[in-house]
Symmetry: C2
């Protein structure tokens, strides 16, 4: 096998209460990458479709940075090199794990071309280096679900410990991405470095409730636990119409609704597809009636994560 | 039925990462209560065995305070009164939920004598009033497992939402109660009201891991998640020989070890009874070789919670 085409899905990180530790994968949106072996060693980005202004230098592009981390971890280095053609279908700065999709697709593809020297879970560590290149911080809450699919929990970063959570198969996500720019740096800066112990207790009560609700398939418990008292109260101020969007989701029967990653995308979870579709239509209406362009998506939870598509 | 005897177990609250929200029930130690209907209305504590200095005034004793909360919630008030004879086998100030055992046993007994007007889960709210009388704070992390058994999560206090967690049946606890006094007020005061966001993230990563590990029956994950970066680092300073005790548990193969409630008792969890017994013997030895009296207990997780014993 000298060439491979891989898809890695967009992801929703944080999932309300699970700030910096939880995430899940979405179906239908994500990045595609074609990776070809080359006789000459080294990594080369030949094209990036669907997004302007991303670096093609291998030491700067998140895909090649992640692949370099994988290659560095091999005891026997391959003789050949790799060429990358990236098609981005997740917008950068959307809060849907754009850089994570590219990093995950790239390491998944190269691992396959090399005959799977690493398990999918081991690839998380390499894809995190792409995240470090993108934002300065080697986060795993997007790359873990993009690679592994489903709901993931980053129990610990040191040592890295990624848990694949059990969850009910009937669970659907509505996502709206309003076409406004929220700088991740602003979204980070707005968070305080210290939080009230009483708020922290509420947050970990909800994390426990969400993990238990997902494992039990208890939709009411999932809904009651989708509460974020740490990031949402401040970050939501950067997202126009957040309250209207959230209130509409809850009125229409969604289990819960919060910010995807650091925003501006907003997600809602529902226990059936028809509710998820009604919710996403409403999201679209709210933004269009306020003259803000917005893309909406509806999908089940993506159980596969990264996958070979050709 | 005019008289009933009820047992409500001792409990381990916090369970390392689950500060203020998690707890589990122990077998073999707990408080017993005999409750008799009386013709005259009102509540009366006739005797308290096993502990000196506890108040017998019904407006001060935790058992009768909790029962009064139950009676206040009835739409039809009973004509008769109740007499309480309490036998305490959980020492006050041990960190094993002494007041919670008494409150839980009392409301469980009276609810039975009244023909079960409330579910066991509804009783948690009343038993919490006993906790308020004992410490000024209506905590539920001891009364919930004492009433319901097993592992419980207080997802939220407002509104109260107690979750019964799934957990593997093969799970054993070793407890050591060194006979030293740690005032709960000191143990509370030593905690800061604000914590670092990065520590809070570690804590809720571990709460998620512990709940997932218990649900999956993944002992390694349970063990990796039994980490407390919020309370243990400071509270353990009030408990002599804490580090020696914890290190010995881990060396002998326990899954994890931390402070029970606000201490001074220390608990360890193990996946088999023989390890739990070896661990508790070692706990005893460590304290006795340092001339500190200590009681040790070994038990499976108590699945029943409060129960009628006569």
């Amino acid at each position: 096998m000298n060439s491979i085409k891989v898809f890695a899905p967009a992801t929703v990180a944080n999932v309300a209460c699970g700030f910096d530790v939880m995430g899940f994968a979405v179906e239908g949106i994500g990045d595609e990458i074609i990776v070809k072996k080359t006789n000459a060693p080294g990594l080369r980005v030949t094209a990036i479709h669907g997004c302007e202004g991303l670096p093609t230098e291998p030491e700067k592009n998140v895909a090649t940075v992640a692949v370099q981390a994988l290659l560095n971890a091999l005891t026997e280095k391959p003789d050949q090199g790799f060429e990358f053609e990236i098609t981005k279908k997740v917008s950068g700065g959307s809060g849907l794990g754009s850089s994570a999709s590219s990093s995950s697709a790239a390491v998944y593809a190269v691992n396959k071309l090399l005959g799977d020297p690493f398990s999918d879970k081991e690839l998380v560590r390499f894809a995190m280096e792409g995240e470090r290149a993108a934002s300065g911080l080697p986060h795993a809450d997007n790359v873990a679900p993009s690679l592994l699919g489903g709901f993931t929990l980053v129990r610990s970063y040191d040592p890295l410990d990624v848990i694949e959570l059990d969850y009910p198969k009937e669970l659907y996500v509505s996502v709206v991405h309003p076409q406004i720019e929220v700088k991740t740096s602003d979204s980070k800066r707005i968070l305080r470095r210290q939080i009230e112990l009483k708020d922290a207790i509420k947050q970990w009560g909800n994390v426990g409730g969400l993990v238990a609700g997902l494992a039990k398939g208890d939709y009411e418990l999932i809904g009651r636990s989708l509460v974020d008292v740490v990031a949402e109260p401040t970050r939501s101020m950067l997202i126009p119409l957040f309250s209207e969007v959230k209130n509409s989701a809850m009125e229409l029967g969604a289990l819960g609704c919060s910010i995807s990653g650091s925003g501006p995308s907003i997600f809602a979870l529902s226990k059936d597809l028809s509710t998820a579709e009604i919710v996403s239509q409403k999201f679209k209406e709210i933004y269009s009636s306020n003259d803000i362009d917005a893309n909406v998506y509806v999908s089940p939870i993506n159980a596969k994560g990264a996958e070979v598509i050709e």
